[in-house]
């Protein structure tokens, strides 16, 4: 970011002559606005459309395919519809809190994008406490959800809000603890710093660095799903139990804002996981052209992050929902102890294991990871064969 600002205020730049102290915030704000309106909002919308399509295919259905090519514009239609709908505030609700809650939720989620990298030079603010900052601002979402649950003056909403508060606060701990192995390995909290400590090749990723980081990756992803209120941890809105949980009384745009957060947050999860464990935007240095390199880095990072969005959709289509007490059991009896063991294990690993042995372990773990993928597809083939499908039942194209 700094290089970008410097190049802009240099002679011949767009902002030539402007002092650095003024130019830097301006560029940040400008880039932030581009990120929010040009990236965050569309990505949340498109994710909603894609989620419905992915679900539909898993469920032997077609899914929304009428608005635009393959229903691609469905999210715009839904957004417009919700914008035009009446904004109902129940008479018994606490007007101020009720109106404020969705904005708080969205603010907490959008603020995370300040520290999320897109490519080597593309990040709004490469904070030296980047990952800590992200963990902190997502906490604002809880306040919004709890506020929504309370202000609705509805028992189902209240239950949803309380569940959400308990859930998000609990899962901050395993999420935070599973970041530590990576932080220990890199010695920095900066998002760019963590990415720079990894390489482009899978064996250079922290995912395959040692068994502890491998486990930490799953712990972090599960905890992040729980923080994002995603299945199997979607108990705050648990449709079949709490009607719609904390957003039962919401309608129109305010209702949509909650879902903007939910879908947008998926990308945030993906981005953090990619940064911490999957080498972020790292690509081989194949060209000198900075623009091309940045674009490729952006593409690589986006694809990696979006794979986790897809994974979250896929998990949602597969798993049932846990119960409140089981959620807590999973967190406190399983994830927190394992996360602590992980942290200590990584520290010991760093001291005990020599570099050459570490290299061997990395390669072995990469091979094991590939083996798991192969095993997975063998199971897929098994299920396809067991279902005794006719040739007409197979259909590989996503287009219907």
């Amino acid at each position: 970011m700094k290089e970008l600002v410097l190049s802009l205020i240099a002679d011949g730049g767009v902002l030539a002559g402007v002092p650095y102290a003024v130019a830097a915030p301006l560029v940040m704000l400008g880039f932030g606005a581009v990120v929010v309106f040009g990236f965050v909002l569309p990505i949340a919308g498109i994710t909603s459309w894609l989620e419905r399509r992915v679900w539909a295919r898993i469920q032997s259905r077609v899914g929304p395919n009428r608005v635009g090519p393959q229903g691609f514009l469905q999210w715009l239609a839904d957004g417009l519809k919700n914008l035009l709908k009446e904004d109902i505030i129940p008479s018994a609700a606490d007007r101020w809190l009720f109106s404020l809650a969705p904005y708080l939720v969205v603010a907490g989620f959008i603020a995370t994008f300040a520290a999320i990298p897109f490519a080597a030079p593309l990040i709004i603010a490469d904070l030296n406490i980047g990952i800590l900052y992200i963990t902190a601002v997502t906490g604002i979402v809880v306040v919004g959800v709890l506020m929504a649950g309370w202000a609705s003056n509805n028992k189902w909403s209240l239950l949803g809000g309380i569940r959400s508060a308990a859930q998000i606060i609990s899962y901050e701990i395993p999420a935070g603890l599973s970041v530590f192995p990576v932080v220990l390995l890199t010695g920095t909290l900066s998002m760019q710093g963590i990415i720079q400590a990894q390489g482009w090749a899978p064996w250079d990723w922290f995912l395959f660095h040692n068994p502890f980081t491998f486990v930490a990756f799953f712990l972090f992803f599960v905890a992040a799903l729980a923080e994002g209120n995603r299945t199997p941890f979607d108990i705050p809105e648990a449709e079949s139990e709490l009607v719609a949980g904390f957003c039962t009384e919401y309608s129109g745009m305010r209702y949509l804002l909650f879902f903007l957060e939910e879908w947008g947050n998926l990308y945030v999860i993906g981005a953090i996981v990619t940064t911490l464990f999957l080498g972020g935007w790292q690509v081989p240095a194949f060209t000198e052209n900075l623009l091309v390199l940045t674009l490729v880095q952006f593409g690589v990072f986006f694809l990696k992050a979006y794979f986790f969005v897809f994974l979250a959709m896929w998990i949602r289509a597969t798993l049932p929902r846990v119960r409140v007490d089981q959620l807590m059991t999973l967190c406190w009896k399983y994830m927190v102890p394992i996360a602590i063991v992980n942290m200590l294990g990584t520290a010991v690993w760093m001291i005990v294991v020599s570099e050459a042995l570490g290299r061997l372990v990395q390669i072995a773990m990469t091979i094991a990871g590939a083996a798991i993928v192969v095993l997975f597809f063998r199971r897929v083939r098994f299920h396809l064969r067991r279902a005794r499908l006719q040739p007409a039942d197979y259909y590989y194209s996503p287009i219907i």
Partner: protein, 189 residues
Amino acid sequence: MAGYLGNIKETVTSIFEGMSVTFSHFVRRPYTVQYPDRIPIPIQDTLPFRYRGILEVDLEICTGCLACERACPIDCIVIEAVKDKQTKAMVLNRFDIDIAKCMYCGLCSEPCPTGSIHHTSQFEGADYSLESMLRRFVKAPVVAYKPKKGPETDPVVGPLLDRGLRYLDDFAKPGGASEASEPDEAGAT
């Protein structure tokens, strides 16, 4: 401890298994159709012969015997048939079916001697008013059909009667297909 690790193992393997099932559905064809406009042939044409859709009456072969009116458990059929004093023929003044009330049970078409009242494969009955759900089949009084001794020769009635009898043949007959249905002892009420 074994239970603790066992739980983790079972969770991981069962989720792995479930995810492989859902993934295998990505290469299977969706089973739903895009009703009503993106289907190769109209749904109505794919329905079986016995499908019980909206009722229809072929007045040309209605004998005015009132068997359907009596069989209807919900009283959604109203027929007015009077005997013309001069010609000794039954004249149908009214044959109304309230489709809004009809429960598509098929009990009316079973006792029909000619298959005049029968279910079609039409099912799209939504409309804006209750009145439009009332089907008035008799526009002007018509003479009821009188079964002939020999085969039907009339070019209009013949095919209708053939279709009607074929429709009737599909119903189970008491004591087997060869025996005719019992004569109705009650007569006109």
